[in-house]
């Protein structure tokens, strides 16, 4: 047992820190949220990392991985969070990419992996449907095999950033006569195909992050099927395991606590910094401790993964605890800014009009951020569903 960094690790840290310092575009760092960033803004950092060969550190080397140890990957995440680099979108890099290199055929690998690495192809996740959220396997979007094509009909919803997407990985029903899980296939759909309509869903914080996607007689070449027909559920679950552990966001939460402390240091309560007030500083301490525990839990999980075990049901712990910590930090940040939590800060997609946003810079969007982060206990399999998974798969209940 050892948690300390070796001299090589420290040298690695200095190297990546210097790289980020030099290459991360500052003007992007100043844009508040994804909601206000253009597609190219969101992709800028991705492209820089691609040029450097660092965009897929956790992929196997043959597909463009870097071969970093888990310690190096940990250091990398820490450094990115520390510099507040734009988070990379997970849909290609950590969701469909690994599915393609694990279950796709050689042609699919050659065709899709380069676009995922370069960022030229923007992917979105077509899992959830209006009637199938927690009970994902009940999905009804239908794909019928006609010649060498699938004809897809149905609708997906909550599709994150589909408004920018070039491709969607999509769960479809290819057999309705068998047990639900046994009639699902995993299809890659070009978003430019005729018959696809994307409609925005505005969330309560005012952001346009999610969408409805309607599919009407969408013709998809059969070569876009991943693996075997009706075996899609296996790939879907593999992906969900990766998605769940990816949601934990430990390094980013550390940075967010740091920011929270800066805010609480600047805010006054009876003339003293809020940070020095016992009630509030204890609340920060509590979330810091939760995060410390989560960090080691995540490292333990990663260590066992690196010994060849894929992300198991334990990744549900990371999802539940990680999102609880994120939600708590955004809540405390809102609390810290006091009365300025009332202020609404308009999003990029809204009509420019009254754009006066008073209060200190750090208070901008504080409560909207808190509202937005309520999503984290709902998506990626709700936290109730994660409890069910642990109860069943880990505790055997």
């Amino acid at each position: 047992m050892d948690m300390s960094f070796s001299p090589e690790d420290l040298a690695f840290r200095d190297e990546v820190r210097a790289f980020i310092e030099e290459k991360f575009p500052r003007e992007i760092a100043n844009k508040r949220s994804r909601g206000d960033m253009s597609k190219e803004d969101i992709l800028a950092w991705h492209r820089i990392l691609h040029d450097k060969g660092w965009v897929t550190p956790s992929w196997p080397k043959e597909y463009g991985g870097v071969g970093w140890t888990i310690t190096q990957r940990y250091i990398w995440n820490e450094e990115c969070a520390r510099a507040e680099t734009t988070p990379l979108l997970p849909f290609g890099l950590s969701m469909v990419g690994p599915v393609i290199y694990s279950f796709g055929n050689e042609e699919q690998k050659a065709r899709f992996l380069p676009g995922i690495r370069s960022g030229d192809d923007w992917w979105c996740q077509g899992y959830s449907e209006p009637g199938s959220g927690s009970d994902l396997a009940s999905l009804r979007t239908k794909a019928e095999r006609v010649g060498d094509e699938y004809v897809v009909n149905g609708s997906k919803t909550w599709t994150t950033l589909a408004q920018f997407a070039d491709w969607m990985f999509c769960l479809v029903r290819t057999d309705s006569s068998v047990k639900q899980q046994e009639g699902i296939s995993f299809l890659l759909i070009d978003m430019k195909t005729p018959g696809i309509t994307v409609r925005p869903i505005i969330t309560m914080d005012g952001a346009h992050e999610v969408n409805e996607v309607f599919l009407e007689d969408v013709r998809v070449p059969a070569e876009n099927l991943i693996g075997e027909e009706n075996k899609g559920w296996t790939y879907a679950k593999f992906l969900l395991g990766n998605e769940r552990s990816g949601i934990a966001g430990v390094a980013r939460s550390k940075k967010a606590i740091e920011r929270l402390k800066v805010i609480a240091g600047a805010e006054l309560i009876d003339g003293q910094p809020l940070l020095d007030e016992e009630e509030f500083s204890r609340k920060i301490a509590e979330v810091e401790i939760d995060l410390a525990a989560l960090e080691v839990t995540e490292l333990r999980t990663l260590a066992s993964e690196s010994r060849g075990k894929g992300p198991g049901p334990e990744s549900s712990i990371l999802k539940v605890k990680g999102t609880e910590v994120q939600q708590r930090i955004t809540e405390l940040t809102m609390e810290a800014v006091g009365n300025y939590a009332f202020v609404y800060s308009p999003h990029g997609h809204e009509q420019p009009g009254n754009n006066f946003v008073p209060g200190p810079d750090y208070s901008i969007g504080a409560s909207q951020n808190y509202f937005n982060m309520r999503k984290t206990s709902i998506y990626g399999g709700s936290n109730e569903i994660q409890h069910n998974i642990i109860a069943k798969m880990v505790l055997g209940l």
Binding site: M204, I269, D270, E279, G338, Y340, N354
Partner: protein
């Protein structure tokens, strides 16, 4: 011991409910919130005609002589419909200052305009450095002849854009956080030296940042005695808390009903999600939080006229209760609605946002826990 409403109060509730059912459904509210004005002046006039704006004023003042319980009834219904119009600011708070602290001449000058729906008020008490401490004031009013000169900055003045009159707290003497030296003034928003910048709030209302630069006030602008205003401010804000608790209770009721209904109809895994015991228990906890909040809301509104200590404890206690309950009920209502709960389209998120902001308004849970503890 009696927890029943009088016949008049029941009639009042039915009247407000009827109005809001007819004219304040969620889609109408959405239009109101996104309109340029941000509120319905014509509704305000109707409320004047219905007597709602007169409710808490005594008959001598041209009101209907209702008490805190009448206000509670009205605010609970407003909470259920997420009403954005400045009833709290104008009738409860500004009205409270006039009722509790103003001279007969000031009452005669200002109450009729409220009752008739002609004047809309906002209360400028918070300052950026002051957080929830009502005495932490940098804004000053210096004696000048037999009047005052006002200088300073007020933050997040709710309803500010709609107001033509302001209640402003300012320091006439003493150090920045002294209890002594706080004074309360009536200020015309149109007066020379008053400038406001307006913006929307996350809970569908409007607010202003207001700067006062050498604003000249006459002697008749001062409410009560110079430098002795803090107890009045505390009392009126406590009345605001009583009203706010009622609004919160209304909002929680709607959220709980909507959540139970949704869980009965939304099916996953072949059954209504309300069949899952973990969600049942969650909804029971939401229900219990609501019931406890109703109790504290009744309690605080019945104790409004008790002595300062008693009232302070009741108000801070109730504020803690609705802060915690509002947070829990709001978060869980969103959670149990799944993705739908996150949308702008469904009303659930709007109640959640309002309940969240209610914790901030007049001081959050931590603030009132401290105030409760320190109240003698």
């Amino acid at each position: 011991m009696d927890f029943s409403f009088t016949e008049e109060q029941t009639l009042l509730r039915n009247m407000v409910q009827g109005f809001l059912q007819d004219k304040y459904d969620f889609e109408t509210r959405r239009k109101i919130v996104s309109s340029d004005e941000g509120w319905r002046k014509d509704y305000w006039q109707e409320w004047a005609e219905l007597g709602l704006l007169a409710a808490p004023f005594s008959e001598e003042q041209g009101g209907l002589g209702g008490g805190a319980i009448d206000t509670m009834v009205i605010m609970e219904e407003f909470g259920r419909a997420l009403v954005v119009e400045p009833y709290m600011e104008t009738v409860v708070l500004a009205g409270g200052f006039l009722r509790e602290g103003a001279s007969e001449a000031q009452q005669a000058a200002h109450i009729p305009g409220i009752v008739a729906g002609e004047n809309v008020w906002a209360v400028a008490y918070a300052e950026p450095q002051g957080r929830y401490n009502l005495a932490d004031l940098v804004t000053t009013a210096k004696a000048d002849g037999d009047g005052f000169v006002l200088n300073g900055y007020k933050a997040v003045v709710l309803g500010g854009p709609w107001a033509d009159k302001l209640i402003v707290t300012a320091r006439t003497s003493g150090g920045q956080r002294d209890s002594d030296g706080v004074s309360v003034f009536i200020v015309d928003k149109g007066a020379a030296g008053v400038s406001a910048r307006d913006y929307p709030t996350v809970d569908g209302r409007r607010a202003s940042e207001i700067t006062f630069e050498n604003v000249k006030l006459g002697a008749d602008a001062l409410i009560g005695e110079a430098g002795k205003g803090l107890p009045l401010v505390e009392k009126v804000i406590d009345q605001g808390i009583g009203a706010l608790c009622a609004e919160a209770v209304g909002g929680m009721k709607e959220l709980n009903d909507a959540t139970v209904e949704y869980c009965k109809t939304r099916k996953q895994f072949g059954v209504p999600i309300g069949k899952f015991q973990v969600l049942q228990h969650r909804m029971v906890d939401m229900f219990m939080s609501y019931e406890q909040s109703v109790s504290m809301t009744y309690m605080v509104n019945m104790k409004m006229d008790e002595g300062d200590v008693e009232r302070t404890k009741a108000a801070s206690g109730a504020k803690v209760q609705i802060g915690k309950a509002g947070r829990f009920v709001g978060q869980q209502a969103v959670q149990l609605h799944g993705g739908m709960g996150m949308t702008d389209e469904l009303n659930v998120g709007h109640y959640f946002k309002r309940l969240t902001m209610m914790d901030t308004l007049f001081g959050n849970v931590d603030h009132h826990l401290k105030r409760f503890t320190n109240a003698a």
